[in-house]
Symmetry: C2
């Protein structure tokens, strides 16, 4: 049952161990099954007995097999698949709930097309984190493995992040940077530091759905302000400032999620003027910003961080396995945020921070981003063409990034389509999910990295045609068992 690759870089003991783990995990070697003896397996594989001993020892340490003295080695009882379902298992109907959508859309299970997913396909990121840089980071982390990371973040990494920000026109130094476990953590710290139950907060409509949920749960009043292709609606913004005296505005100025839209410099200037007039704090979300294909103006650069808390992350563009984000803000604001970081997680991970430091220092990440953005632009054009051909309307093509904001005809029952697509292993998310005002009931967010596939356009073309006009009733009657016709 085992075969070894003698040309592989992976040591033979590792190969034996990993292959046996697979056999145990898949049940091909069931609980209580007896393994070949060390000598038998060594002879069969033509390796030294010591190699087999190393592999078996590790499996014993992992608790997957156990030695029963002279009787030999056996698969452990506890190695069997756990009887208790994971908390990750969802009940029927929960899959469109915002908090679990996040889980779904990162779930790269075989066969599910993440047409509305929030992440890039893993293959697109494979060159983002060079193994050599990770090795170097690890070597430095190992030296510091016994020490705690300072709560603000490693000084060298903060200096490096500050240089990245200066490169896009935001004047900061390491003293104004706080590291986080990704963009969601940055949002969480901002909410904790500056918002109280009952506060009013302005958000873009559409916008980041997980944040809406999080704010509501904390008793925050969400005031939606409409988003246009060139920025937030300034009249609505001003009216909302007057009517609600909001504490904070959450805004994505560049490659906006879910629309892919940007903001004009004039629009951003006016946003800052209004913020000044109405004592409004701004949280500028730039987690999609690395996907901007060229030069963009941001609130953080226009304002010199006056009233603006800026945050971004490397999770989307570099590696989702490295949960690293960062906040830039004035020292007084940053100290309040650091206090909340200590309350919520005590501090960051020195291992992650050293690895990120070396990945950034290796310098190749800029080229990686350039390649990624070229690929995204091509995918954007191809996806737009396929989707329009399948009957989707695009409000505005946007400036780049992962997302296209499409629309079906108003008579289409979108929740029904979403359910049907899910049964056909296509993850679609309705625009209503991204809305703080129950709007966008006919919109869909499309991830351009997945939406050029003909499997999606074929599905949509057939379904939308069958949904058109009077046939809707028919589909509804048959939807419980419906598959692709």
């Amino acid at each position: 049952m085992l075969s070894l690759d003698r040309n592989a870089a992976t040591p033979l003991a590792d190969q034996i161990e990993l292959r046996l783990r697979e056999l145990i995990a898949t049940g091909q070697l069931p609980a209580a099954a007896r393994l070949l003896s060390i000598r038998q397996l060594a002879a069969q594989l033509q390796v030294s007995p010591n190699t087999v001993v190393t592999a078996y020892d590790r499996l014993v340490a992992l608790g997957l097999i156990e030695s029963r003295g002279t009787a030999g080695y056996f698969v452990s009882e506890s190695a069997r698949h756990p009887a208790m379902p994971d908390a990750a298992v969802l009940e029927a109907g929960e899959e469109q709930e915002a908090v679990w959508l996040v889980q779904q859309s990162g779930d790269q299970r075989a066969g599910v097309l993440l047409a509305s997913g929030g992440a890039l396909p893993p293959a697109w990121l494979e060159d983002g984190v060079p193994a050599a840089a990770v090795q170097r980071g690890l070597a430095r982390a190992s030296a510091g493995m016994a020490s705690r990371c300072p709560p603000q973040g490693l000084p060298e990494l903060r200096e490096r992040i500050a240089m990245v920000l200066r490169g896009i026109g935001i004047a900061v130094d390491a003293g104004r940077i706080l590291t986080t476990y990704g963009g969601t953590h940055a949002i969480d710290l901002i909410c904790r530091a500056f918002l109280q139950p009952g506060d009013s907060v302005l958000v873009e409509d559409p916008g980041y759905f997980l944040m809406f949920d999080r704010l509501r749960k904390d008793g925050i009043r969400i005031i939606p302000v409409k988003r246009h292709p060139d920025g937030i609606d300034l009249n609505e913004l001003e009216a909302a400032c007057v009517a609600h005296r909001p504490r904070l505005l959450f805004i994505q100025t560049v490659v906006h999620n879910p629309t892919g839209w940007g903001s004009s410099a004039a629009n951003l200037h006016k946003v800052l003027v209004l913020a000044q007039q109405h004592g409004l704090l701004i949280a500028e979300d730039d987690v999609q910003g690395h996907f901007h294909p060229g030069h963009a103006t941001r609130l953080a650069s226009l304002s010199g961080l006056d009233r603006v808390i800026y945050y971004s992350s490397f999770c989307k563009s570099l590696s989702p396995a490295l949960r690293m984000g960062y906040i830039a803000a004035e020292p007084a604001l940053l100290k309040a945020l650091m206090r909340e970081k200590i309350y919520s997680v005590l501090t960051g991970s020195a291992l992650q921070e050293y690895v990120l430091l070396e990945v950034l220092a290796a310098g190749r990440w800029r080229k990686h981003h350039d390649r990624l953005n070229a690929k995204l632009l091509a995918a954007r054009h191809a996806s737009a063409r396929q989707l329009v051909g399948a009957g989707i309307t695009l409000d505005h093509p946007g400036e780049g990034g992962l997302f296209l904001w499409g629309k079906v005809a108003p008579e289409v029952d979108l929740p029904l389509l979403v359910q049907d697509a899910y049964r056909n292993k296509i993850l679609l998310v309705s625009g209503a999910t991204f809305s703080a005002s129950q709007a966008f009931a006919s919109h869909i967010r499309f991830n351009v990295a997945f939406s050029q596939q003909t499997r999606l356009s074929d599905y949509l073309r057939t379904r939308l045609a069958s949904l058109a006009g009077a046939q809707q009733a028919l589909l509804r009657a048959g939807s419980a068992q419906s598959k692709l016709p």
Copy 2:
């Protein structure tokens, strides 16, 4: 200015780079200084010019030096020390505030004796994380670097953690485990999932100060219940249940922080009976539990996780650089906790989780814990002897772990002593900090790994003698400039 170690495992280019980084960071190579040319440095160090090119390229990528064409390489302007102070810099008087104490007590700055610190000295943990295991974890993480960690945690790691828990008598499987970024993160998720402003929560007195702060900030009513050497005070616990109808009890049953005390099985049984009678949820904190030198009964094992949420971490005993903790709970509770994990940080770090998985699989961590606990017991005896000799009273020696709970005479002005010690580079934290009831004004938490040093006992002996009786007034008058006499 540079010298190389040709026998070191570190490649020569890395050595050159790291040495130049140091010279720049310390200002020995100031901004705008010109570096030796590639040929000059290669000749001086007797290395290939390519080696110098590699080092210089990385420094350019780091933004520390810049090439000015034929003029050569210069230290960047932006490489200079940031003008803006770190948010980490505290203002006068803040160093005894709970949230910043955490920062202080992890701060291994030269010369500060962390006599009341919360962590082990880095040297004690050096063998905790074998480099080979980290390498293996990294190799596996690299393959998954482009994928997101499932929000519940890597299934294999959860299975491994479940085995660790079964090893101490807690019957769980991987489905009941949720990974976190350490113990503080576990506390945060529990508060978010199960507590509302206005709720009453029972805490041990003394207990974990950062948690008290965090609860108060959220508008939770804290009800202190007295801690004894053999467990929580059962009469007070029952009275508090009747009077306050609390939602939750936070409790450390084993090697309690700050006292080092344990709990008898009979005490724990009664706690469970009371919890059942009064509909009380229990959060059992076991982050110090790895420091228990033998077998201990815990609420999680007695209850089979009925009404008990258990959490612990590897940050204290294995590596503070790897921020990894875990929660064990029934699926319905765990799902609520996972929801909060998604809201707060989206998910865990696959890099960290793979590294921890391999460290645990390597099996050596048990031996590491055994060695650590032997060392801690020896340090405990030595520290107790030194402290008693210096005039400190110990209420009860406790069962093990990092901490001894000492007391000065009631007439000693402890806040004054703490301030004076800090000026003398000794971090002491008053017992009042650990109290939810303003008690323990004469207690001090001592970290046994640091408290055997004669520098501490000499200081305490001299100071306590001079503070005794009528001399207190004298010290107070002179305290502003006081140094060790």
